[in-house]
């Protein structure tokens, strides 16, 4: 069957419209179907991961009670809003993660194996990252000690956490290691 529009190419897209009890049929080739925008059907041949991801985001927005607030969140560095992000499925800059952290976290959990990076670290900031990871672990231990009312040991942990945090701050002040 030839395309009804250009009458040159094979018609590969067949559209049947049901309207007020009347049935109309249109047979088009891909190029002509694409040109006919009033059909409002997407002929994009490629299934896109971004779009799938964006639709997941939209879904979680709809579910959220604070949806309006989330939509209005804006990245202070690049100006991308969360609603823009949920349409294009891509972030604008490295600060977007902090700006949209609350909304992104549940999604990251769904698509990945958790929310914490455990792999490679740039050599330049390895010391700092190790210290932060150690602090996180100590904080968890500290919570456990407090719940068990082992306050003396908790105090020791608290002091170690403080010392590590000060160490990081000092290194940053010296400009040796930046994040």
């Amino acid at each position: 069957m030839l395309c009804e529009e250009c009458r040159q190419k094979e018609a590969t897209i067949h559209i049947v419209k049901q309207m007020d009890g009347n049935q109309t049929e249109i047979n088009l080739c891909e190029q002509c179907a694409r040109k006919k925008k009033e059909l409002e059907v997407s002929f994009e041949p490629q299934f896109s991961l971004h779009k799938l991801f964006a639709s997941m985001l939209n879904q979680s927005l709809r579910d959220s009670r604070r949806a309006q607030q989330a939509v209005d969140t804006q990245c202070p560095s690049c100006g991308l809003t969360f609603s823009q992000f949920s349409q294009i499925g891509r972030l604008g800059c490295s600060d977007c993660f902090k700006a949209f952290e609350e909304q992104l976290k549940p999604l990251l959990r769904r698509i990945h194996a958790g929310c914490a990076h455990t792999g490679k670290v740039p050599l330049k900031i390895l010391g700092r990252v190790q210290a932060v990871r150690e602090i996180d672990q100590l904080k968890e231990e500290l919570q456990a000690k407090i719940i068990n009312e082992e306050f003396e040991e908790a105090a020791v942990l608290r002091d170690r956490i403080r010392a590590l945090e000060e160490d990081i701050l000092q290194k940053e002040a010296n400009g040796g290691e930046k994040n």
Binding site: R90, L91, S94, H112, G114, G119, K124
Partner: protein
């Protein structure tokens, strides 16, 4: 400036471990430079700044003397197509990147795309099943560039990428497999289902959204956050090994039980190739 080669890449010609089934192994790391907007949102002067920063850094590193550098808009359609077909650049970089560029090692085993979806996509491609080797190669160039550049990295989330599906390691490892026997014996759909359950993606020859042609499939990791590079690589390796074993036994089964119809297929194909109509 050197011309883009139209001849086959080494990964296409050379053989590697298990290369009668595993055609090639590809590993890429996504990296962004701190302080620059990601390419999809960046203004022209920013994408230009990324290009000049990266190319001047590369020019100062000894190992990059074996690389050729091409801004994508200086290439002809034919050259772009050749690079896409050899899997050295993505269709996205060829078609729509602003100030996209390519750094390509002479042997075409390492390619670094600039201003694709992320500022940098460091890719290693090797023949056969060589996941660890490919990751080591990509990681080495990652280290070299990281010495000179500040990559966007978060203590908790790892390497930050434009698409949240790449965050963490930024690592996508994929193996291209030739699975005719699993397809003939119709075991493929069960296998594909099982692979997706363990968090692996299966795609056609040219990545996302392409169909399976010529019995070739690409199997890759989906998860990039919460697992280390070594875990991702070794998980993928052990599953690919199982797929290879299944294909081998399916091939043996076909040889034992359906030798005549298999021979018929082969001779018909030979006939078509020898007698073009």
């Amino acid at each position: 400036m050197k011309q883009v080669q139209f001849t086959m890449s080494r990964w296409m010609q050379d053989s590697g471990p298990d290369s009668e089934i595993a055609i090639s192994t590809r590993v890429r790391a996504a990296r962004n430079i701190r302080g620059f907007t990601f390419p999809c949102l960046a203004a022209d002067h920013e994408t230009e700044a990324v290009i000049s920063t990266v190319s001047s850094v590369a020019a100062g590193i000894e190992e990059f003397a074996q690389f050729n550098y091409w801004p994508i808009d200086t290439l002809t359609e034919m050259e772009k197509n050749a690079l896409v077909e050899k899997h050295l650049i993505s269709p996205l970089l060829a078609a729509e990147s602003k100030h996209g560029a390519l750094l390509l090692r002479n042997d075409e085993a390492i390619s670094i795309m600039i201003n694709e979806e992320d500022h940098l996509r460091i890719q290693a491609i090797l023949p056969g099943l060589q996941l660890e080797e490919a990751w080591c190669e990509a990681s080495r160039y990652d280290d070299l560039l990281e010495n000179e550049l500040d990559f966007a990295f978060d203590v908790h989330y790892g390497y930050l990428t434009a698409c949240p599906t790449n965050i963490g390691t930024g690592l996508r490892a994929s193996v291209m497999l030739h699975l005719p026997a699993l397809i003939i014996t119709r075991q493929i759909s069960r296998l594909l289902g099982a692979l997706s359950q363990v968090g692996l993606a299966v795609r056609g020859l040219y990545g996302e959204g392409t169909e399976i042609i010529g019995n070739l499939v690409q199997v890759s990791n989906q998860v990039t956050l919460g697992q280390s590079e070594e875990e991702i690589i070794s998980n993928l390796f052990s599953i690919i090994r199982q797929v290879i074993e299944q294909e081998q036994s399916a091939r043996q089964m076909l040889l034992d039980k359906q030798r005549a119809s298999l021979a018929d297929k082969a001779w018909r194909a030979m006939g078509l190739l020898k007698m073009p109509s």
